[in-house]
């Protein structure tokens, strides 16, 4: 692959899904306007959402979903052995995601509720980095295709893939949204990594933190804010727990 000035190698790319809705992989096939250019950067070896071909000679693996069965662990370890770069792709992969809600209930209860008592083998949900080493994490439920395009271009051209380190509020303010705290709601924007163009808050829905903690976010100050405004602690805990992305911050809080 060439542009008139530089020559680049396509990425030998594979994409895999574990416990998830496959919404993040679907994003890879989204955005028609740039789809052709996007896939011309990739030598797709395995990606069942777009091709029935399957080859095991990939260098970079996008791993979507969380791990909730023992056979998934085996598959994941095999991917790790092959991939030079393993990317945790989407919120489920990075943090466990919505699936982690299951971990709040005894396994038996969940099986009884969901599968009506059918015998199903299932484990507590874990994120990808609980099982294998992850080289790059791209959060989002679903991921933002524009960000993926930028990161893939970075990977192809050998520059550092970068994501915003600052919180969602920056993008929210760019869109001139009224702050949801001023409308009496709890929003996780101040502690959540930006990069989604504040899509939820622009629709007047509080951020639930699908992109995980912003870098160096000031969690104590955030807790103080919720307290000061007299907002519900329970609502806060619900929101923090939604994607399991704030595990590190919620354990010591009850």
């Amino acid at each position: 692959m060439k542009n008139p000035v530089y020559t680049f190698e396509k990425l030998k790319f594979a994409s895999f899904e574990f416990t998830c809705c496959e919404g993040c992989q679907l994003q890879l096939a989204n955005r028609e306007a740039s789809l052709e250019a996007f896939f011309s950067l990739l030598d797709v070896r395995t990606f069942r959402e777009i091709s029935s071909e399957k080859h095991d000679d990939y260098d970079i693996a996008f791993v979507e979903g969380s791990i909730s069965r023992s056979d998934e662990i085996e598959r994941l370890l095999a991917i790790r052995r092959q991939a030079k770069t393993l990317v945790a792709f989407g919120t489920c992969a990075c943090f466990g995601g919505v699936n982690s809600l299951k971990n709040r209930f005894p396994i038996k209860e969940s099986i009884a509720e969901v599968y009506d008592g059918l015998p199903v083998e299932t484990l507590p949900v874990r994120k990808i980095s609980d099982i294998v080493k992850v080289d790059l994490s791209i959060p989002g439920c679903p991921v933002a295709k524009e960000e993926i395009e930028r990161i893939v271009v970075n990977l192809v051209t050998g520059s550092l893939p970068a994501m915003p380190k600052y919180p969602v509020c920056v993008e929210c303010k760019e869109r001139l949204n009224t702050c949801l705290f001023d409308l009496g709601e709890i929003c996780l924007g101040p502690v959540t990594r930006a990069g989604c163009s504040a899509v939820c808050t622009s629709g007047k829905t509080p951020c639930l933190g699908c992109r995980g903690p912003a870098e160096d976010s000031n969690f104590p100050a955030f807790m103080e804010l919720v307290k000061e405004r007299g907002l519900s602690r329970r609502d806060l805990q619900e929101k923090l727990g939604f994607y399991n992305a704030f595990e590190a911050y919620t354990v010591h809080e009850t």
């Binding site: 000035v5 600052y166 919180p167 101040p190 502690v191």
Partner: protein, 359 residues
């Protein structure tokens, strides 16, 4: 400057004609806060009916019409083993209605920084030149402190400024464009009574300020208090969210990023407004962060706002609109931070004057 008065209905017709013929933005009510307060923003308007002439202040400033939150500065096209850079400064004409005196002062400050230095910004200039600015006076909100910085009145930097004198607007016409537009509408020479009403109006505005911030010798206090515990006190509260800088009319810091297009046939250089409160504002190559602590970052925002940097002659660039104070979720606001610093300084002076004794 030329002065005229115009009846309110005639003013409405004037604005209506202006906005129907131009891409225009004015204050619109976008929400009602939980406490019942209306929330306004500068939004596109298509007729005079869309505009809230009696609004209070907008939550975000009008800065982004001149310094967009993100802007492509140049394009690079690769061809035949070479590349070409394309730069365009074009700006569409825009009418901005309802800016407050402090908002216009902030534009004048941005002019100083972005146009009068060694490297004037053609991007900013194009937008500034192509924007027709109509100012309107108002009674301050409880937190407004522009009077402390002498920005509650403004005499340059706008095309037209309207003072509300009851039945009429008292117009200060500051450009031939504005003068020509107004020719088609009925205006009059201000009468003696109109002039009295204007003076009354100005007095009323001036006495309506409830917040005063003592900014005398603030630059030197800031220098002295560089290591003050005040920074840590407020820094601990700061969420590093950048909101203050985003809504501020005079914060202009930015980051620049270059990136390839997805087809690798071109690339772009992009500017994004940034904030010194953001965690990686002072990160350099190799990952070293010159300002790793919240307090340090917050301090630099206050330094820039209230002490000034060399590029604008060490002038304060804060105009006292208190947008940052209203928007900050952590309750950080210039009045309290500056008062704290002053108290630090005062207690320090007492100590200095007492300890040597006079014997």
């Amino acid at each position: 400057m030329i002065y005229r008065v115009i009846s309110k209905p005639e003013f409405r017709s004037f604005i209506d004609a202006l906005v129907q013929a131009n891409s225009s933005f004015g204050p619109r009510r976008v929400d009602t806060a939980a406490n019942g307060d209306p929330v306004y923003q500068f939004m596109p308007v298509g007729s005079a009916d869309d505009i809230e002439f009696d609004y209070t202040t907008t939550a975000s400033s009008a800065k982004h019409f001149f310094l967009p939150f993100s802007e492509e500065l140049s394009r690079f096209c690769f061809h035949e083993r070479d590349w070409e850079q394309k730069i365009s400064y074009e700006a569409q004409p825009v009418v901005l209605i309802g800016l407050r005196a402090c908002d216009i002062s902030a534009l004048n400050i941005l002019d100083d920084v972005l146009l009068k230095g060694n490297y004037p910004s053609p991007y900013y200039l194009a937008k500034r030149k192509n924007t027709f600015v109509i100012g309107m006076d108002h009674l301050p909100l409880p937190g407004c402190f522009c009077k402390s910085l002498a920005h509650h009145t403004v005499s340059t930097g706008f095309n037209l400024f309207c003072s509300d004198i009851g039945e009429k607007y008292y117009l200060s016409i500051n450009s031939s464009k504005a003068f020509n537009y107004l020719k088609d509408f009925q205006t009059e020479e201000p009468s003696y009574e109109d002039n009295c009403l204007l003076t009354e109006r100005r007095k009323l505005i001036s006495r309506s300020f409830q917040t005063e911030v003592d900014v005398t010798s603030l630059p030197s206090i800031l220098d002295i208090e560089f290591d003050s515990p005040v920074w840590e006190k407020w820094g601990t509260k700061c969420l590093n969210c950048g909101t203050c800088a985003m809504v501020c009319p005079s914060c202009y810091c930015y980051s620049v990023e270059e990136r390839f297009d997805i087809d690798l046939k071109g690339a772009s250089r992009n500017r994004k407004l940034y904030s010194c409160n953001l965690v990686d504002f002072a990160v350099v190559a190799g990952g070293h962060n010159f300002r790793p602590k919240n307090g340090d970052r917050l301090k630099y925002r206050y330094y820039h706002q209230h002490r000034g940097f060399a590029e604008n002659g060490n002038q304060q660039i804060c105009v006292g609109c208190n947008r940052c104070g209203r928007a900050c979720l952590a309750g950080i606001n210039p009045r309290d931070v500056i008062n704290d610093l002053r108290m630090e300084k005062d207690s320090c002076m007492i100590c200095v004057s007492q300890s040597p004794g006079r014997t």
